[in-house]
Symmetry: C2
């Protein structure tokens, strides 16, 4: 039985419970920032809805990823913790795991492809993690990570296909639900699915009347396709500007989204860039393209008259190359 079959056979074994979400809230407190909620009249007018932006671009590390990483690190036994944590990533998860490990005072090793941007390497090193370089392919990353684990005994913290990570990501929606009463909808972007599945669990347990909607680039729509067909689909060659969402949906997130019948809406590239620019220009919230995918869905007019929470997942952007300058 491969992992897919295992999860399918008994999802309840892995899916974080209400109690695990409550425990995650307590664990992230003091490490993860309770980010503010922002609003913007111009975007309300354009959407016909009342939008409440959960500002995870103001999270430490510039993205929601610190939530899952912190919960995963806090879940380790002292023995496990002593051997450290490891992952392969050149994105927001790498920075998040570095910060979370640093807060517990344990080692973090990040496997990064040699062609990762210098600014990302510097950020991860700045947070105190060790970087091990590898070739650019997924196979090379995985082989290098396996070697790190063999040498150090570190626990691998997967960026999304991990119940502790999902429970951590759920804390963003938990806060949003507490801070904004009477929400009708929460929109969150989907890449690997950690954030969206956590959001679905948070709504289920703490605001069962809130509908959760996923936002996915049309050029990376494996999650929408997977849910439509009932079987995980491979990602097409990822070209979307929303680089945080190029990943294929994970096994556990897929099972959770499927069980909760979460709808996913897809948006094209121009709409993503336009939503990103409008959010910068009018709301003064400098979000990355992945976050703009959720804004694009919220602006589309499908939520007229509703109170809509929008998870702005991150704000790590190369300021030297903004997408509208290359349109």
């Amino acid at each position: 039985m491969d992992r897919e079959e295992q999860v399918a056979a008994d999802v309840s074994n892995e899916v974080p419970t209400r109690e695990e979400l409550v425990r995650a809230r307590a664990r992230v407190e003091g490490i993860v920032r309770r980010t503010p909620i922002e609003t913007c009249r111009t975007l309300d007018e354009r959407s016909g809805a009342s939008l409440f932006f959960k500002c995870e671009h103001l999270q430490r590390g510039g993205a929601f990823k610190l939530r899952g990483a912190t919960n995963a690190v806090a879940s380790l036994t002292d023995d496990e913790a002593a051997r450290g944590v490891a992952t392969h990533s050149s994105g927001n998860h790498a920075a998040a795991l570095a910060i979370a490990a640093g807060r517990r005072g344990i080692a973090a090793t990040i496997v990064m492809p040699v062609d990762a941007p210098a600014i990302k390497r510097a950020a991860v090193e700045g947070y105190g993690a060790r970087i091990v370089s590898c070739g650019p392919t997924l196979a090379e990353r995985e082989a290098t990570l396996a070697q790190v684990v063999a040498e150090t005994g570190a626990t691998v913290v997967h960026p999304y296909d991990d119940a502790r990570v999902i429970a951590g990501q759920a804390t963003a929606a938990c806060e949003l639900i507490e801070d904004v009463p009477d929400l009708d909808v929460i929109v969150a972007p989907i890449g690997g699915g950690g954030l969206l599945s956590g959001t679905a669990l948070a709504a289920r347990h703490f605001a069962p009347n809130v509908r959760v909607v996923g936002a996915e680039p049309a050029w990376a729509d494996d999650a929408a396709e997977s849910l439509r067909l009932g079987v995980r689909q491979p990602q097409r060659p990822p070209r979307t500007i929303a680089d945080g969402l190029r990943t294929a949906i994970g096994v556990l997130p897929f099972a959770i989204l499927r069980a909760h019948e979460v709808a996913i809406e897809v948006v094209d590239e121009d709409t993503i860039v336009e939503a990103m620019r409008t959010t910068w220009e009018r709301a003064k919230l400098p979000i990355e393209a992945s976050a703009a995918v959720a804004v694009a869905v919220a602006l589309r007019g499908g939520f007229a008259g509703k109170r809509v929470g929008v998870v702005l997942s991150g704000g790590n952007v190369d300021l030297a190359r903004l997408p509208w300058q290359h349109a």
Copy 2:
């Protein structure tokens, strides 16, 4: 006796009192947003201080200017209000006056040079003001404004050389002082001086132990020179990237800053751009160059160990042309 001598002769006639600041607070409530305070560990580390950013870039209209415009509009008698307000400006004050007039339901006429950016014209029109175009020189602007006043009887609301405007701008520092206990210093940028003189008055009346420091571009340092010499100096041809600070200091702001012995620190262009970029990249606060001048002063290391309020004056930026892309 010209206006300069008049003010010098009896400043107390014009300088807003404590009571006028209290009244301004009440008038702006419900129209002006009480903007949040943000912090950033990276910027704290770089400055050696604890920085508290007053986020006026999240103000309606994208700048603190709405405060002064709202107080000025609220100060009008019903007769005056019926004839409307007018100003010449292509910047943040134009948008602010348009919004403030709209909230009172009165007419606003904005005299704008023909070469003003289309996006600024559209914003002002979007807020419901009437635009009258004129030639690009100051003389043409003033002649056109005089004509508007002759035709409509509108009250001219000057962007900074006006006691009601200064009292309105003071409300930003009043909120900052309330929200952040035990501040040692407040840094604010200076162009015409409405914000900085209001900040000085707020500190004087509500936090007398707080030192107020002005931040000015070296390429537009007329205020620093004026205070050093004790007489208002003309602005040199303004080239600074901080376009909101190219104006020369006003008569009344100068008198207030002089009376309160406010120190002004100047910063060069590279330092402004670097501070702006760092604030975007690390704090995720998309401020305009004029606001970055205050951040640059705060980062310079002169406030080690202090609790420093920094007024982020605005966030209206042309996203197609960011300064570090043209360095």
